[in-house]
C-alpha cells in the first residue's frame, strides 16, 4: 500500500511539473513572441496578425489553468494565518483537511463545468472567431488541469506526515 501511494504521488508530481514546464518553455515564450510580433508588424510594416488577440487569450487561459495544480502543490494560494497560528496541532490538522476538502469541491466543480463545455463545444462545432481552431481542446485542458488539482489534493489529504506550517 505505501508503495502504491508513493507511485501515485510521484505520478501526480510528474504530471504537475510537466504542466508547469509546458508553461515555462512553451506557452509563456509563445505568448511573448505572438504579442511582440503583432506590435512590430503593426508599427513597422503597417500590417497585423488578425488572430493574435484571440490566440493570445487562449494561451493565457492555458497558462492560468495549467499552473493551478502547481500553485496548490506549492501552497501558493493566498490564505489568512491570523487565527491558524494560534491553533493547537489537532485543530491545525482539522482546518488543513477542511481547507483541502473545500479545494477538492472547487476542483470537482471546475472539472464538471469544463466537461460540459467540451461536450457543448464539440456538439456545436465552436471555433475561435478569427481563426478556424476548435475550442473544445481548451475546455478539455481546463478539465485535465482541474483533474490534476483534484489528484494533488488527494495526495495532500492522505499524506502520512502532517507538517506543521
Amino acid at each position: 500500500m505505501p508503495s502504491l501511494q508513493k507511485n501515485y504521488k510521484e505520478l501526480v508530481n510528474t504530471l504537475i511539473t510537466s504542466a508547469h514546464k509546458t508553461n515555462i518553455w512553451l506557452l509563456m515564450p509563445s505568448l511573448l513572441v505572438l504579442v511582440l510580433s503583432d506590435v512590430i508588424l503593426r508599427n513597422a510594416f503597417d500590417t497585423t496578425i488578425s488572430w493574435s488577440h484571440e490566440v493570445s487569450g487562449l494561451f493565457l487561459l492555458s497558462i492560468f489553468f495549467l499552473d493551478l495544480p502547481y500553485c496548490l502543490s506549492k501552497s501558493e494560494f493566498l490564505k489568512v494565518d491570523i487565527l491558524y497560528q494560534h491553533f493547537s496541532t489537532f485543530w491545525k490538522v482539522v482546518t488543513k483537511k477542511l481547507s483541502l476538502i473545500c479545494c477538492f469541491g472547487v476542483a470537482l466543480f471546475l472539472i464538471w463545468q469544463a466537461l460540459i463545455g467540451v461536450i457543448d463545444m464539440w456538439e456545436f462545432d465552436e471555433t475561435a472567431l478569427t481563426l478556424s481552431i476548435p475550442l473544445w481542446p481548451f475546455s478539455l485542458m481546463v478539465a485535465i488541469s482541474s483533474s490534476l488539482m483534484a489528484m494533488q489534493i488527494l495526495v495532500m489529504l492522505f499524506e502520512q506526515e502532517f507538517e506543521t506550517e
Binding site: H20, I24, L32, V35, I63, L78, T95, F109
Partner: protein, 433 residues
C-alpha cells in the same frame, strides 16, 4: 430565506472559511457558486460560471499581468538593483543621511522595475544593509527607510496591483499607471527630505559618506541607461499610442531580456526562475479574480450591494467621513490580509459605493494602492518589515517598526494630500488624454 439573508449568510460563511485558513479565492468560489446555485438553480449557475471563467481567462488586458511580472523578475535577476545603488550613492552619498537617501531612491527605482515590494526589500536590503552598517548608520533608520522605500514599488508604474485593480474595475490601466507617477515621486521626495532633515539635526544617525569625482558619477549614470531605456520604452509605447498596456508589457520583457543578455547576467536558471515565478503568481491572481467575480455576481443577485449603498447614503455621511472610514478599514484589514486579498475582498462592496458617491475610479485606484503600501509597513504583520527582519536578524523587530513609523506618517500625509488635492493623481491622466 430572503435573498438578502442568503447573501448575508454566505458572506459570514465566506469570512469564517477565510479565518480558518481556507484560501481566499476558494472561499469566495465556494460561497459564490453555492449561493448562485441556491438562487438560480444548477444549470444557470453552470452557464454563468463557464462564461465568467472563459471571459476572465481569455481577457487580453490580463496578458499584462504575467508579462509585467516576468519583466520584473528579469530586472531582479539581472542585477539592476546594484547599478541603481552605485549610481545614487555616488550622487547623494556624501550628504548627511546620503546613504539612506540613495537607498530610498534606488529601492524606489528598482521597485518600479520589479513591481514587487517583497522582492525589492529582500534584494536591496541584502545589498544595502551591510553598507549602512559600515558607515555606522542607526539600525532603525537604515532598516526602517529600506522597508518603507520598498512600498513605493507598487505605486510607481508599472505596478501589478494597479493592473489587478484596473482589470477588476474595468478602469484604464494606462490612466492608473500615469496617475501613480506624481504621488509615487512625491512620496520618494518626502521620504528623502525627511531623512535629510532628520540626519541634518542628528548627524550621528546617518554620517556623510565619501565624495566621488564627477566623471565617476557620470559613468554610473550611463550604466543605468539601458534599464532606463526599457522603462521609457514601456511607458512611452503606452502613452505614445504605439502599444496597448499588454503589448507594452511584452516590449518590456523583450527589452529587459536584451539588457540582461548584454550585461551577461542571464543564464538558463535565472530565465527559468523568472518565467516560473511569473506563471505561478499569475495563476494565483487569476484564481482570485475568478473567485471575486463569482462572489460579486452572487452579491448582485441578492441585492445586498444595493442595500449597502442605500444604507450608507441614508446616513448622509460626507465624502471625507467615508474616506476616513475606508482608511481605517484598510489599516485594520492590512493587519491580516495581503495586497491582492485586500483588493478582492473589499472591492465588491466598496467600489459600487465610491462610484455612487461620484469618486473617480482612477483616483480610488491610487488611494487603495497607498493604503496597501501602509499595510506593508504597519504592525502586526507588515510584510516588508518581516522581510527586512530576515535580512537583518540582529536588529530587533521593534527597532524596524520604530524606523518605519515616520514613513507611515508620511504615507498618511500623502493620503491626506490626495484627498484634498485629487489632481495629484488625476492631473497627469487628464493631460495625456
Amino acid at each position: 430565506m430572503s435573498d438578502q439573508n442568503t447573501g448575508l449568510f454566505a458572506l459570514l460563511v465566506m469570512l469564517l472559511m477565510i479565518l480558518i485558513r481556507v484560501p481566499i479565492a476558494i472561499s469566495m468560489l465556494i460561497t459564490g457558486v453555492a449561493g448562485n446555485i441556491y438562487l438560480q438553480g444548477v444549470e444557470a449557475s453552470l452557464v454563468q460560471f463557464q462564461l465568467l471563467s472563459w471571459e476572465i481567462a481569455t481577457n487580453f488586458i490580463l496578458i499584462a499581468l504575467p508579462l509585467f511580472i516576468w519583466m520584473g523578475q528579469l530586472g531582479y535577476s539581472s542585477g539592476i538593483g546594484k547599478d541603481l545603488y552605485n549610481c545614487f550613492h555616488k550622487w547623494f552619498g556624501h550628504r548627511p543621511g546620503g546613504l539612506a537617501i540613495s537607498s530610498v531612491v534606488s529601492t524606489a527605482s528598482f521597485g518600479a522595475i520589479t513591481g514587487s515590494s517583497v522582492a525589492t526589500v529582500m534584494t536591496m536590503g541584502k545589498m544595502l544593509m551591510p553598507e549602512m552598517k559600515r558607515y555606522r548608520y542607526a539600525s532603525s533608520l537604515s532598516s526602517g527607510s529600506l522597508a518603507s522605500a520598498g512600498v513605493l514599488a507598487i505605486l510607481i508604474p508599472p505596478s501589478v496591483p494597479l493592473v489587478f485593480y484596473g482589470v477588476w474595475t474595468e478602469s484604464s490601466i494606462g490612466d492608473l499607471f500615469i496617475a501613480g507617477v506624481i504621488p509615487g515621486l512625491l512620496l520618494t521626495l518626502m521620504f528623502s527630505l525627511f531623512i535629510w532633515i532628520y540626519c541634518h539635526f542628528k548627524p550621528s544617525l546617518g554620517p556623510p559618506g565619501e565624495k566621488y569625482p564627477f566623471q565617476e558619477k557620470l559613468a554610473s549614470l550611463l550604466n543605468l541607461l539601458p534599464a532606463l531605456c526599457v522603462m521609457i520604452l514601456v511607458l512611452g509605447s503606452i502613452y505614445g499610442g504605439i502599444a496597448t498596456t499588454s503589448e507594452a508589457a511584452a516590449v518590456g520583457v523583450a527589452g529587459m531580456l536584451l539588457v540582461a543578455l548584454a550585461k551577461k547576467r542571464l543564464n538558463r536558471h535565472a530565465l527559468k526562475e523568472s518565467i516560473s515565478e511569473s506563471s505561478k503568481l499569475s495563476s494565483n491572481i487569476f484564481l482570485l479574480l475568478l473567485g471575486g467575480g463569482v462572489f460579486s455576481r452572487f452579491l448582485v443577485q441578492t441585492d445586498l450591494t444595493e442595500i449597502w449603498i442605500q444604507s450608507i447614503s441614508d446616513l448622509g455621511l460626507s465624502l471625507y467621513v467615508v474616506i476616513a472610514a475606508l482608511v481605517l478599514m484598510y489599516l485594520l484589514l492590512g493587519a491580516i490580509i495581503d495586497t491582492f486579498g485586500m483588493i478582492i475582498l473589499t472591492l465588491p462592496f466598496v467600489f459600487p459605493l465610491i462610484t455612487s458617491m461620484g469618486i473617480d475610479r482612477v483616483w480610488f485606484g491610487i488611494f487603495i494602492v497607498l493604503m496597501i503600501e501602509l499595510s506593508l509597513i504597519t504592525p502586526p504583520i507588515g510584510l516588508n518589515v518581516i522581510v527586512m527582519k530576515q535580512v537583518v536578524p540582529d536588529v530587533p523587530l521593534l527597532d524596524i517598526y520604530k524606523g518605519t513609523f515616520p514613513f507611515v506618517l508620511i504615507c498618511l500625509f500623502m493620503v491626506l494630500l490626495l484627498v484634498i488635492f485629487p489632481e495629484l493623481a488625476l492631473w497627469l491622466p487628464s493631460k495625456i488624454h
